[in-house]
């Protein structure tokens, strides 16, 4: 692809907020950054675009001082600096909002903010400033509320406000929208645009092409640790950006029609559950039905009962027998192993530590859930059978790894996910529950996984997918329901709904959204 010069590519020297030249960072097995160049002007919203493992996060950590580059220069407002640690970065005026929040749930908003300050503070005055800054940027926050009572979007606001209090000149946001409803994304964008108008530069890390197109002035695209080009997103198409990002065409899923009989396989009725975790979400009267040959999608922001629902479905948190039925038989009281024996496969959100044992080999990890497939005989392991099983899985599902002997933790997220999905499919389930199938997975692997799930459903398996990515649900699902505050909305055929309606339901506006739901109501 040709490189289109961004509008901010050549301001007079010294006017750049941040300029990186030749940044290189080597890890023992991989070169995470290889001679990276990056230029950000004051007031510019600059996207850093790339797949997982492209080196975006390492680059941001270098800018934020959390990682030291092996080579290369950092120019900050025209002078060369060495950023030794994050507090040094904050002193220079660099703020960062992480993908995963670091907040204490039992403390209030203002206490959490105070903890992150480098200088002494007065809690009352600080609360005033929090209120002032948060209203100024359209991020309403009550400083005295306890963090555990905040929604995920509100928690992100705490993180952003925490950065803004330091009056940064550069704000780094790492995949900030993965936890937000479509409406909240729009609000966040307004805030970011206002900040940019005041001269704050913004580095926006994402792999969501349409967001980058609507928000960012310019983009630096990375692949395999190198910059593959810079672009003006508004002048590109998602396809052309994707080509720069993955080096080939954006793969598209094929969704054939299911011709078999759509009998119900997995049924949930009146499932209510009080979580063990005091900060968990209570499930309230959940009803759902997944049929043969379909993919049912459950949309919603994590923390609205997703974890609890998944554990109740998989058997990790057993409950009332009648609440969960598999082909009409009650299984709600059975543990995960017994449900798997009856044909219910599960792919959890956490691949390392739940779906797979990190230090164990793939062959040993095959035994984890597929031991009933002849990998154990009379109480003894059959290492050769496990090795063969893993090998077949690796070949069939295109898992890139060092072979069946490779430790699970040595695989990239996408490849481990392919292995886990493959391992579950090879057990020939009749129903499969999948959580966040492509979370943290690169575009190529994501397309492969989605197509695999579609094909599996069309072979007559009932599939339930829980995902935060709306586009993904619209791409692969037949029906979509929204889980918000522990309640599940009705499953609607995807042709009868859209991102906006689902976004309304995600915010917990169930009644109003469902009232408006029928198609004839518009008249």
């Amino acid at each position: 692809m040709t490189t289109i010069p961004p509008p901010f590519s050549s301001p007079p020297p010294g006017a750049l907020r941040l300029e990186l030249t030749g940044i290189t960072k080597r890890y023992p097995s991989v070169v995470a950054n290889d001679g990276v160049q990056l230029k950000v002007a004051p007031g510019e919203i600059h996207a850093v675009l790339g797949e997982n493992g492209a080196g975006k996060s390492t680059l941001m950590k270098i800018i934020y001082g959390a990682v030291q580059a092996d080579a290369g220069q950092i120019q900050w407002n025209g002078r060369e600096v060495v950023i030794a640690n994050p507090s040094e970065a904050r002193r220079l005026g660099i703020g960062m909002v992480f993908q995963h929040f670091s907040l204490f749930e039992t403390l209030t908003v203002v206490e959490n903010i105070a903890l992150a300050l480098d200088e002494p503070f007065d809690l009352k005055r600080l609360a005033e400033r929090v209120r002032e800054v948060s209203t100024r940027y359209g991020l309403p926050l009550d400083p005295d509320r306890l963090v555990h009572s905040l929604s995920v979007g509100e928690r992100q606001r705490v993180e952003i406000v925490r950065c803004l209090l330091q009056e940064p000149q550069l704000l780094i946001l790492d995949e900030p929208t993965s936890v937000l409803t479509p409406q909240a994304v729009q609000k966040l964008f307004e805030t970011l645009r206002r900040l940019a108008a005041e001269g704050v530069s913004i580095l926006y890390i994402s792999h969501k092409l349409h967001e980058i197109q609507s928000l960012c002035h310019s983009a630096t695209v990375m692949r395999g640790g190198k910059v593959t080009g810079t672009a003006t997103p508004s002048q590109e198409t998602p396809a052309s950006l994707a080509r720069m990002m993955i080096g080939r065409e954006l793969p598209v899923c094929e969704v054939p029609a299911y011709t078999g009989e759509a009998l119900p396989v997995l049924t949930v009725s009146k499932l209510s559950m009080i979580p063990d975790d005091p900060f968990g979400t209570q499930l309230k009267d959940i009803d759902l039905e997944v049929r043969r040959g379909e993919i049912l999608g459950i949309a919603g922001i994590s923390g609205n009962g997703q974890a609890e629902l998944l554990a109740a479905l998989s058997g990790e948190a057993p409950g009332r027998a009648e609440a969960v039925k598999l082909v009409g038989l009650p299984v709600g009281h059975l543990d995960a192993g017994k449900r798997r024996k009856r044909g219910l496969a599960f792919v959890p959100e956490e691949r390392l530590g739940r779906g797979a044992v990190p230090p164990m080999s793939l062959a040993d990890n095959a035994t984890l859930s597929a031991h009933a497939q002849g990998l154990v005989k009379k109480g003894f392991l059959r290492p050769k059978a496990a090795w063969e099983f893993a090998k077949t899985c690796i070949q069939r599902f295109d898992v890139r790894c060092g072979g069946p002997g490779a430790a699970a933790r040595s695989l990239s997220g996408g490849n481990l996910q392919k292995f886990i999905v493959g391992r579950e499919i090879m057990q020939k389930p009749i129903a499969m529950v999948v959580a966040q199938p492509t979370w943290g997975v690169d575009v190529g692997a994501a397309a492969f996984l989605r197509q695999t799930l579609i094909d599996l459903s069309r072979s007559g398996v009932a599939i339930l997918v829980v995902s935060e990515e709306l586009e993904e649900l619209f791409e692969i699902c037949d029906r979509i329901a929204v889980l918000a505050e522990g309640r599940l909305g009705p499953a609607v055929p995807k042709a009868h709904t859209n991102a906006e309606k689902i976004g309304m339901q995600m915010s917990g506006l169930f009644t109003s959204a469902t009232d408006r739901e029928p198609d004839h109501a518009a008249a």
Binding site: A336, E350, S369
Partner: protein, 356 residues
């Protein structure tokens, strides 16, 4: 700011080296200790590590001491792999000794081949039952086994004291807190004239082979290991966490109980207050020093036994206090844990100041 940060990929090789590093550091600090006591370190180490092995009887004693250490450590290692920390094997050893000793006392005067096997079985059951109590408390009330097993070790010790001071006291024992001397049918007979090594070492050897097969081949041990490495993955796979607790504590109680019988039916020959020189606690060190691996535990058990012997020799030849054995055990564990910390973590480098 913490001084340690986790290493991205802990080295598997260093994990095997760390026991050797710990042994090296123990020797180093040990020499400093000897120097400060005015002893020649080389001579002292000769007394400690070489002299005990210079006679047939020395090797016999090594086996006598290594047997129970290895046997108990094999059982403990199963639980440690599953992160079930039974640190009260000493109590289970005493419970096993009481059960086995009870059989011996009850069968006194009966000359039959089955007395000794019955004692071993009784000891196994006694130790396992003593391990079952913390298992029940853990699965039922979520009471941490680390605390309950240790506390029960004291209970067992007082129970033993009560029995040898009360119901089972030898009427002709001049009021010493000890039971009758067991008859020949209730004793492991020594293999060689004048030496104490006997068939109980075979139990440890067979158990080591058994545990080696169990840990490397059985699905059950696999489940326990998964439970220790990744509890969420065990739940995901449907492996029962309660079963892990039960198996870990029953197995380690069982081996400790058998070891207890090995003592009272072997070198001790009766029930008294000195049936174990802390084998149950030392076995914890043996299990970790052997990397929770069945073969490693055999080697570590031999080393620990040598420490016991060397400690005794040092008391005689160098007039050092009896505490020297405990001191060396303590140093070994301390350096081992320290070395293990640095396998998983590294010192955080001091950040360089900004040049601007």
């Amino acid at each position: 700011m913490p001084l340690l940060e986790p290493r991205p990929t802990p080295s598997a090789q260093m994990r095997l080296w760390s026991p050797l590093i710990a042994i090296g550091l123990t020797l180093l600090v040990g020499s400093l200790l000897f120097l400060s006591l005015g002893k020649d370190p080389i001579e002292a180490f000769g007394v400690f590590f070489i002299q005990p092995l210079s006679s047939g009887n020395g090797w016999s004693e090594l086996m006598v001491k290594a047997g129970p250490l290895i046997l108990i450590a094999q059982g403990l290692a199963i639980g440690f792999r599953a992160r079930i920390y039974n640190i009260g094997a000493e109590g289970q050893l005493i419970a096993g000794a009481l059960a086995g000793g009870g059989v011996a006392i009850a069968c006194d005067g009966i000359d039959a081949w089955w007395v000794l096997p019955l004692m071993v079985v009784a000891g196994a059951i006694g130790g396992a039952l003593w391990g079952a109590i913390p298992a029940l408390l853990r699965t039922r009330f979520n009471a941490q086994e680390t605390l309950t097993t240790l506390m029960l070790a004291y209970v067992a010790s007082f129970a033993l004291s009560y029995m040898v001071n009360g119901p089972w006291r030898d009427p002709e024992g001049m009021n010493f807190p000890q039971s009758i001397m067991f008859g020949d049918p209730a004793l492991f007979s020594p293999w060689f004239e004048g030496m104490r090594v006997n068939a109980s070492i075979l139990i440890a050897a067979v158990a080591s082979v058994g545990f080696w097969i169990f840990t490397s081949r059985s699905f059950l041990a696999y489940q326990l290991t998964v439970g220790g490495l990744a509890p969420a993955a065990a739940r995901y796979a449907g492996f029962s966490a309660d079963r892990t607790v039960w198996i870990s504590l029953l197995l380690s109680g069982l081996t400790a109980g058998i070891a207890g019988v090995g003592e009272v039916a072997g070198p001790v020959g009766q029930l008294n207050l000195n049936i174990s020189p802390g084998y149950g606690f030392a076995a914890i060190i043996v299990a970790y020093l052997g990397r929770l691996n069945a073969i490693g535990i055999v080697l570590a058990g031999l080393l620990m036994a040598l420490l016991y012997l060397g400690g005794e020799a040092a008391q005689v030849a160098l007039q050092l206090p009896a505490a020297i054995t405990g001191l060396f055990q303590g140093m070994l564990l301390f350096f081992l844990l320290g070395a293990d910390v640095f396998v998983d973590y590294r010192l955080r480098p001091r950040p360089k100041p900004v040049i601007a």
